[in-house]
């Protein structure tokens, strides 16, 4: 074993040019794998983050759309108790209405939150670009709506309900949730204000939930539904975003395809170079066999070569890949200086890619190893 390794090492180090070429070949394959993998999973993370990161992933509502939730505190308590994945849970009172300023009216969705709870989901404090969070008789408007209506912090506007009731409120601040449809319509206020304008009493329209594993939203929603009274139902983001999900799946599959084909080309490369190297070293193998080296040891030489090449290729490839990823986040920037895509470096993924590279390099050397085992010393000695 030790002898085979020693010979393998010497063979590799005595033809440095060839060795460096194969190691580079493997390294480039591994680095493409690491880079593409990190890029795609980073892309998916940021896509998920922007689409559902700041929204309700599971929503509890009354089954009848005209009904509201009176005893929402019990709902919150029982969800918290029964579903361990829940990270944030917040009641919300929503109502469609209008904003009237001067002679113009704009359709809005009035959203009443308990800010302490809702901030976990919507990151409202972070998305404030002017002013402060609304207090009693105050509202917060989106950036796109204030631009369109020509409003600013401190202005007074009228909220008009579909039934014609009107209430004067003050704009306490302006937010930017990075989604223009929300920025145009959401008018955010404290829960009691919405409840009083729209005469909800003590009721809310929904309880919104975020969970730690977004892809478990459907099963978590089922679990939550099972512990709630029958007049309540749950909705989850997966049902509402089938096209996003299939998009993510498509990305994962194409990323996997790229990685598999890169791997195959790496394996073919190693196998062919090592096959040639058996021919190059057939004279040495013949001598070794004449000296009594066993066929099994002779073939182990090539397995070790494959293993060593794979190991160096993987290490170099991971450093290349990480370097490339680092350069990408450093130089591919948005105008505001943030990276176009935040790569997601998953150590587990990198370790698995490296192990696969080493394993496939070793497997690729099976063919040359078999050839070397079968080589007859007579061929070499006869042919000089």
């Amino acid at each position: 074993m030790k002898l085979a390794f020693k010979i393998a090492w010497r063979f590799l180090s005595s033809s440095k040019g060839q060795t460096v070429l194969i190691v580079l070949g493997i390294a480039i394959g591994v680095s493409v794998q690491v880079f593409i993998g990190s890029l795609i999973s980073g892309l998916q993370k940021s896509l998920l983050e922007t689409t559902i990161g700041s929204s309700s992933q599971i929503t509890v509502k009354a089954s009848d759309r005209n009904e509201r939730l009176a005893d929402y505190q019990t709902v919150i308590d029982s969800v918290k108790k029964n579903e361990p994945l829940v990270t944030f849970i917040s009641p919300a009172a929503d109502a469609p209405g209008f904003i009237k300023t001067g002679n113009s009216t704009f359709p809005i969705l009035m959203r009443g939150f308990n800010f302490d709870a809702a901030d976990g989901i919507y990151k409202l404090k972070k998305s404030l670009i002017d002013g402060s969070l609304p207090k009693a008789n105050e509202i917060m408007l989106g950036k796109d709506l204030v631009e369109e209506a020509g409003l600013k912090t401190g202005d007074s506007v009228d909220i008009v309900t579909p039934l014609g009731k009107m209430q004067k409120v003050t704009i306490s601040g302006i937010y930017d949730l990075k989604v223009s449809s929300l920025n145009k319509s959401w008018t955010i206020a404290e829960l009691p204000l919405v409840q009083s304008i729209f005469e909800y009493g003590n009721e809310v329209t929904s309880v919104e939930i975020q969970i730690s594993d977004v892809f478990a939203a459907d099963t978590a929603a089922q679990n939550i539904a099972s512990v709630l009274p029958a007049n309540l139902k749950t909705e989850n983001w997966k049902d509402a975003n089938a096209s996003l999900l299939s998009g993510l799946n498509g990305q994962s599959i194409s990323s996997l395809m790229i990685q598999v084909f890169v791997l195959i080309s790496v394996i073919l490369g190693i196998a062919s170079v090592l096959a040639i190297s058996v021919l190059q070293k057939s004279r040495q193998l013949g001598i070794l066999k004449a000296m009594g080296i066993k066929d099994s040891t002779a073939s182990t030489i090539f397995l070790f070569q494959g293993f060593v090449l794979g190991l160096f290729g993987a290490v170099l490839g991971v450093s290349f890949g990480l370097g490339l990823a680092f350069a990408f986040t450093k130089f591919a920037l948005n105008p505001d200086g943030t990276p176009v895509i935040n790569l997601f470096i998953d150590p587990k993924f990198i370790i698995v890619s490296s192990l696969i590279a080493v394993a496939s390099a070793t497997i690729a050397s099976f063919i040359p190893a078999r050839r070397s085992s079968r080589l007859d010393p007579m061929e070499v000695i006869k042919n000089g």
């Binding site: 074993m1 030790k2 002898l3 020693k6 010979i7 010497r10 063979f11 005595s14 004279r283 040495q284 013949g286 001598i287 070794l288 066999k289 004449a290 000296m291 009594g292 080296i293 066993k294 066929d295 099994s296 040891t297 010393p377 007579m378 000695i381 006869k382 000089g384």
Partner: protein
């Protein structure tokens, strides 16, 4: 007579469609500790005979015994061990491993045998190389030596496991007459010192005559066989 190599009715036929009989009914006993030379025209079958003795090739029919062990029926791994421990080869084209130094080449059969190198073996290798006058070049890569040095390294390598038999195929075929002289003198010395049996193929009648016994092969048969004492 105490024989270390014994061939009985050995035939060797090459090819399956066009058959060429290279050896015909060869019977040969090689005495322990003797120094033998095989001569013959090229194509006479002498190299084939040597390769069969050396277990690199198998006879088509007949019996081959090395050290009283039948080799014509042994498995490949058993043959490899037998070659490693009982037989040392010296070929015309030196056949050193070009990736290793002279010293490492000399140690190689011992590594194959036991895996590791003890200080005694290291000592023996240095002693053998000294005997061959190779001490100044012992750390040279095999290709960075003269032909004579390479061939003497090959002889030192053949001797490292203290084999019973050294088989040499035209060991001096590529050397000038001065180196040829040196290499033969060394082989004779070893034969006397370590009691190693030598079977040497040579073209050179002058060299052949220095052997205890000369065997001439012609058309795959033993044509002449005489000991120098008789001549």
């Amino acid at each position: 007579m105490d024989s270390v190599i014994s061939l009985k009715n050995v035939n060797k036929i090459y090819g399956t469609d066009v058959k060429t009989q290279v050896l015909t009914d060869v019977n040969l006993e090689i005495e322990k500790e003797s120094f033998n030379s095989i001569i013959g025209a090229s194509g006479s079958g002498k190299s084939t005979l040597l390769n069969i003795i050396g277990t690199l090739d198998r006879p088509t029919s007949g019996e081959v015994s090395i050290n009283s062990v039948r080799t014509d029926s042994l498995k490949k791994t058993a043959l490899a061990s037998l070659r490693n421990e009982t037989i040392g080869f010296v070929f015309q084209f030196h056949y050193l491993l070009p990736e290793f130094t002279a010293f490492e080449n000399v140690l190689m059969p011992s590594r194959i045998k036991s895996g590791k190198i003890t200080p005694e073996i290291r000592e023996r290798a240095l002693e053998l190389m000294n005997l061959m006058g190779l001490t100044p070049v012992k750390d040279n890569i095999a290709t960075k030596m003269s032909g004579g040095q390479q061939q003497r390294t090959a002889i030192a390598r053949a001797l490292i496991n203290n084999p019973k038999i050294i088989l040499a195929d035209e060991p001096t075929g590529n050397l000038d007459s001065e180196s040829t002289e040196v290499v033969y003198d060394i082989m004779r010395d070893i034969n006397e010192k370590f009691k190693t049996t030598f079977v040497i193929i040579t073209h050179d009648r002058k060299i052949a005559q220095k052997a205890d016994r000369i065997i001439e092969i012609k058309d795959g048969r033993i044509n002449l066989d005489f000991s120098s004492g008789e001549a």
